[in-house]
């Protein structure tokens, strides 16, 4: 492995970490409601704007603006769940027929709405968030990274680890996993499934917004900035198995590395297509992903 390969691998893994922040939430939502949230990228976009505007316009220190972006995303997730997701499970029996279509339409509509609302209210210009540290580049052997990216990667690792631990061991985490394994069974065991889905949406929105905030010094947030990260997280969730959190983390790192190498060794122009092709192949031939369980219906 030459120096450039090490550099590509490390930078790919770091990109993968940010993908993981997005994909975990999406995967949890799929697990618990069996829907894909097509507005997921807009949580990311809102997070980037929240961080940038809170830090720059209000002059709040970046270390306070960062958690505030998480809070904004979580609130948006809560609002989405309460206003739009309830019909998916709260006893609207006649909705069974068009349930999947409803979820796609309503989240797709929400995505368009948020993009255009931000475009009109904040403006279509790109915003660049303030970096957490000013160090422009750090040299680690053959690897070149900006100081902000390195620090953001460290924070991302910490947040991912805490989230994964919470899902695995905390009381609510166990309840969420129970609901995603078997909704009816969980509710018979006394688990409040509505509350579980509120928590999942808040966590999902918060994590996506947090990813947007962490990346805002790099991505030049514009209203449609969330579209590609969202597509990446759909790919990851399918690769990792819909609903599986460890699967989502591993698939994120995998995709980050594949894109990083593919852009250099195969084609730079088509770097965004590799994942899409993987996504189609997986959906057609192995819809349960690398780690997901094959669907079982009773």
């Amino acid at each position: 492995m030459s120096g450039i390969d090490v550099d590509l691998a490390v930078n790919g893994l770091i990109t993968g970490l940010f993908y993981a922040l997005m994909a975990i939430g999406l995967s949890l939502i799929f697990g618990i409601l069996k829907i894909v949230n097509f507005a997921h990228g807009e949580f990311y976009m809102v997070g980037a704007y929240a961080y940038t505007l809170i830090a720059l316009a209000l002059g709040v220190p970046v270390w306070i603006a960062l958690p505030l972006a998480f809070v904004v995303g979580a609130l948006l997730g809560w609002l989405t769940e309460r206003t739009l997701m309830r019909p998916l499970y709260a006893g609207y029996t006649s909705w069974g027929l068009m349930r999947d279509e409803y979820a796609v339409i309503v989240t797709f509509g929400l995505s368009l709405f948020l993009i255009n609302l931000v475009d009109k209210v904040v403006g279509p210009y790109a915003y660049r968030g303030p970096p957490l540290v000013e160090t422009s580049r750090v040299v680690l052997g053959p690897v070149l990274i900006s100081g902000h990216r390195l620090l953001a990667a460290g924070i991302a690792i910490a947040v991912i680890a805490v989230t994964a631990a919470l899902i695995k061991w905390s009381f609510w985490g166990q309840q969420i996993r129970a609901v995603s394994q078997n909704r009816l069974g969980a509710s018979l065991a006394g688990i409040d499934t509505a509350k579980a889905s509120v928590i999942v949406f808040m966590l999902s929105g918060g994590l996506a917004a947090f990813a947007g905030a962490l990346l805002s010094p790099v991505i030049n947030a514009s209203p449609d900035v969330g579209i590609f990260p969202a597509i990446k997280s759909y790919i990851i969730v399918v690769l990792g198995g819909m609903g599986s959190v460890p699967g989502a983390i591993i698939a994120s790192l995998f995709l980050g590395v594949i894109e990083s190498f593919g852009a250099v060794y195969i084609s730079f122009q088509y770097r965004d297509a590799f994942g899409l092709i993987l996504l189609m192949l997986f959906l057609l031939f192995r819809p349960q992903g690398l780690f997901g369980e094959k669907g079982r219906e009773v």
């Binding site: 006649s94 909705w95 759909y234 088509y270 297509a273």
Partner: protein, 327 residues
């Protein structure tokens, strides 16, 4: 707890007789709307507004085609704009490189986009709901990336110049209207035949439809191919109208507009999406002049209609007529 939709969506689906009556009423309403559209050039000669109406008709065809697939067959594809793009590039490339006349190019576009639709429909046969939406979304994005990155062939985002077909804008207006009415009649005949029942049976319960002897594989694939061919037709017409083909035709935002029109008009109704295409597009041009909030308004309407008025404007109108009839 029930949502405030005025009528149950399943209410009118029992039996061929009822379904046919429903479709016929919708067909007549759509014809009346098209007759009104046909009279507009008598009063409006402003080329800008005629252009707006022509683009509305382009979207009306796309919304109608997507509605056949999503509204009537329950296959929620996120690639309708992509098939329009494929149709536009088929005739565009043929014309640009081989000098194929537009009319022949349009026929080729229908065939090519129909074939691609057939293949995609066959591939995604077993996928439902979110899986289908994601697969078609990635198909759409891959196609758009290919179109915008194959710069040597398609000139990428600069766009490909293609020959025009008609000189007069009013001529284009009636050409598009003719295409729209022809497709409307075609869809009506399709839906009124047994095929229409098969498609709706598949949407309502695929397993039951198969048990009742419906050839699910054939009809699902056929719906995909027909919808794709109609979208490709619209895209090819548009290519010669605009005299330019760009990858922007396949943007996900375009699909967003098509979905909005269909949902606001009423999914699974013949007239709703057509009429809504005009309302949404003309209104959006008008809103553009007064502050540019058009997309915010339409996206909000999509969410509100999907959440509270599942049968769209058509359902609201029908409920209003029924209430008025009783009073």
């Amino acid at each position: 707890m029930a949502p405030s939709s005025a009528t149950s969506p399943a209410g009118n689906r029992s039996g061929a007789q009822l379904s046919n009556t429903k479709t016929t009423v919708e067909f007549r309403a759509a014809l009346v709307a098209m007759a009104i559209v046909a009279l507009i050039p008598l009063g409006v000669s402003n080329p800008y507004w005629l252009g707006v109406l022509i683009v509305s008709m382009y979207f009306a065809i796309l919304a109608g085609a997507w509605n056949l697939l999503a509204g009537y067959t329950g296959q929620f594809s996120l690639a309708p704009a992509t098939f329009a793009m494929i149709g536009a590039y088929t005739t565009g490339l043929l014309n640009h490189y081989f000098g194929v006349p537009p009319l022949l190019g349009i026929v080729a576009a229908v065939v090519v986009s129909g074939l691609v639709g057939l293949l995609l429909g066959r591939a995604v046969l077993r996928l439902v709901g979110p899986y289908l939406a994601l697969t078609t979304l990635s198909f759409a994005e891959i196609m758009r990336l290919v179109a915008s990155n194959s710069i040597d062939i398609t000139r990428g985002d600069l766009g490909l110049g293609v020959a025009g077909l008609l000189d007069s804008r009013v001529g284009w207006y009636y050409l598009f209207l003719g295409a729209l009415v022809a497709l409307l009649v075609l869809f009506y005949m399709l839906l009124r035949s047994k095929a229409g029942l098969f498609l709706q049976a598949i949407r309502d319960d695929e397993v039951a439809a198969r048990r009742a002897g419906v050839n699910v594989v054939f009809w699902k694939t056929a719906a995909f191919a027909i919808s794709a061919a109609a979208s490709g037709f619209a895209g090819a017409l548009y290519a010669h109208f605009a005299e330019l083909v760009t990858p922007e035709l396949g943007l996900i935002g375009q699909t967003g507009l098509i979905v909005s029109m269909t949902v606001i008009g009423g999914m699974g109704t013949l007239a709703g999406p057509l009429v809504a295409a005009f309302l949404v597009y003309v209104l959006s041009e008008w809103l553009r002049d007064v502050g540019g909030y058009q997309l915010v308004v339409f996206a909000a309407l999509v969410v509100i209609f999907a959440r509270f008025f599942r049968e769209g404007l058509w359902g609201l109108a029908r409920a209003a007529v029924q209430r008025w009839g009783r009073a």
